[in-house]
């Protein structure tokens, strides 16, 4: 917000006009949709679910107050603990792979060439359609036991993998699919790379820095705020993984891909243990807030802020 004060509009002298054109009124009128929406679709549902998380509500019978037993049961529920584990594993594997790939391609595409915008669109396409059911179905067939990938692995004499039958292999098609949708991170990186002044690079070259040094000492620090933004956005969206796992593996085999959102859906919507699912939502909120807070806290050490130096 800049400090310049705009002259107050006095387009009439009636009290109504003074009220209607006052900055506070105008601000709240325009912000009203957000305030109402935030209360109606976030705060009220969250508070209601906080109440239900202490009941055995199942949407049919009258609910009974059960205190903290839903929360206590969560930590005794092996499927729940496993689902937290596989979700964290998925996030830890998929986000760095995706971001590294996005940065790599964005970097390659900084070369001046007429074809760059064509390439950029080509690489962006997967992230445009990757979230759809259609692509998930394609993935399911590609990695099926007798699917395209296995048949061609066999042709090359490489042992085939029963992707969706093995607890260790099942996560990889989903992680690959996530990494495949690196397009929007790539675009953001590309825009960030463009913002780095060329004079920095020239100065480094004069000082005799090689390409590797330039990358680590100039590109990475200058890009760190953008990396931070991408990291946060991807962390959040990867915690939400649902459609791919729901369509491709249905959480199997033996819960190896039973990600958090999938398990919440199973308990809440399919089995109607709404109290239990509410407790799960709240635990997820706490986990997510903790992770986001950690990223923000540690960011002071690795995000380079130009205005401070």
């Amino acid at each position: 917000m800049s400090k310049t004060k705009t002259p107050a509009v006095v387009s009439g002298r009636t009290p109504w006009n003074r009220f209607a054109y006052n900055n506070n009124t105008v601000g709240y009128v325009f912000a009203a949709p957000f305030i109402i929406g935030f209360l109606a679709f976030t705060i009220i549902p969250m508070l209601t679910s906080l109440y239900y998380s202490c009941t055995d509500y199942n949407m049919i019978d009258k609910s009974n107050w059960v205190g903290f037993s839903n929360y206590i049961n969560l930590f005794k529920d092996e499927r729940f603990l496993k689902s937290v584990g596989v979700t964290l594993q998925y996030v830890v594997l998929s986000v760095p792979i995706k971001l590294a790939f996005a940065l790599f391609i964005a970097f390659l595409l900084t070369r001046p060439s007429k074809l760059v915008s064509v390439y950029r669109s080509l690489y962006y396409l997967p992230s445009l359609i990757g979230g759809s059911v259609a692509v998930a179905l394609v993935w399911k067939e590609l990695f099926a036991r007798k699917g395209l990938i296995n048949i061609n692995l066999a042709k090359l004499g490489i042992p085939t993998i029963n992707w969706f039958g093995s607890m260790t292999a099942a996560k990889w098609p989903i992680i690959l699919m996530t990494a495949w949708q690196f397009g929007s991170s790539m675009l953001i990186f590309a825009a960030g790379l463009k913002e780095i002044p060329t004079s920095y690079y020239e100065a480094a070259k004069i000082d005799g820095a090689n390409g590797w040094q330039i990358f680590w000492k100039i590109t990475m620090p200058c890009l760190s705020p953008v990396i931070m933004f991408n990291l946060i956005m991807q962390l959040i969206s990867s915690f939400m993984v649902f459609t791919q796992a729901f369509v491709i593996t249905k959480g199997g085999p033996n819960d190896a891909t039973m990600y958090y959102a999938l398990y919440v859906y199973k308990q809440g919507i399919q089995m109607r243990f709404m109290g239990y699912a509410s407790a799960m939502s709240w635990v997820m909120l706490l986990i997510m807030s903790a992770i986001t807070a950690i990223v923000f806290k540690t960011s002071k050490h690795w995000v380079f802020n130009e205005s401070e130096s």
Partner: protein, 280 residues
């Protein structure tokens, strides 16, 4: 030296184009699969050219499930997507204007809440919202899928704020001196200049909503109300053997709106995504 440069340039292009082809191969494979039959799809051939062009897959696929054809599913998807997209673009621009341009008591707090909501994963509120919608009788209607969009989407509010930061404040001030109120500054100054960001919002929200699977899965009960994304999944759920040809045919059709956006509005898409990540 010169030949070395040319060689490196050729290697560069071969590498980038080759990798790009690998990236979109699954999509091309799906499109070609829409013209193959089961045995041709399952043969494991990498070829993208169907041995016989089996257009009948589209007819079989379009026939849908039960008595409900894809005409219904497409109609449902279009209705939901159009309403939700309109809601998002109108409400988000109002909120972005209030946060970016007007100084009022509490605007910092609202901005903080908006960012916090952006960082809140949708799945956290999935069950809580379901409970509320269930209570007010919205489950089984399209209301939960469209109404919340009329109250602003933090991602787009943020994107528009970034964009507005690039519109000189002097324009607002000049308009006010000329007798505009803060309300008409929004409609006469900001909105016309915000056009690129509005278009970016429309197309990004459009394809998000078009592809959305979880929302329709939670709230649409009756088969007559299903969207395309739900219907396409039904091919894989069929109790008998999956008919891959028609499944891929309908998958391909389901992506046509997104492909069209990609072809015609690519620039807005790229700009929209790019600005969201940068400090304005």
């Amino acid at each position: 030296m010169k030949t070395k440069k040319i060689v490196s340039r050729i290697i560069y292009h071969i590498f980038i184009a080759g990798l790009g082809f690998v990236m979109i191969y699954p999509v091309l494979w799906m499109i070609s699969g829409s013209l193959k039959d089961n045995s041709e799809i399952l043969s494991g051939s990498l070829s993208l050219i169907p041995p016989h062009w089996r257009w009948e897959n589209f007819k079989t696929g379009w026939a849908g499930f039960g008595k409900i054809t894809f005409t219904t599913y497409f109609k449902n998807s279009i209705i939901i997507t159009v309403i939700a997209t309109l809601g998002t673009v109108i409400s988000s621009s109002l909120i972005a204007y209030s946060l970016a341009r007007i100084k009022y008591r509490g605007n910092k707090l609202i901005f903080t809440i908006m960012i916090a909501t952006m960082l809140l994963p949708g799945q956290v509120v999935m069950i809580p919202q379901y409970l509320i919608y269930n209570r007010i009788g919205w489950v089984g209607t399209i209301l939960p899928l469209v109404v919340p969009h009329f109250f602003g989407a933090p991602f787009f509010i943020y994107m528009m704020m970034q964009f507005m930061a690039g519109i000189p404040r002097e324009l607002d001030e000049a308009a006010i001196i000329d007798g505009c109120s803060k309300y008409s500054v929004y409609s006469r100054v900001i909105i016309p200049l915000l056009k690129p960001a509005l278009i970016s919002t429309i197309i990004i929200q459009f394809y998000w909503k078009w592809d959305d699977y979880m929302g329709p899965l939670l709230y649409l009960g009756k088969p007559q109300a299903y969207t395309v994304s739900i219907a396409v999944k039904l091919f894989a759920d069929a109790t008998s053997k999956t008919d891959y040809g028609p499944m891929f045919a309908m998958s391909t059709l389901s992506m046509i709106p997104v492909f069209l956006i990609f072809l015609f509005f690519n620039r807005y898409l790229v700009d929209g995504i790019s600005t969201s990540g940068l400090k304005g």
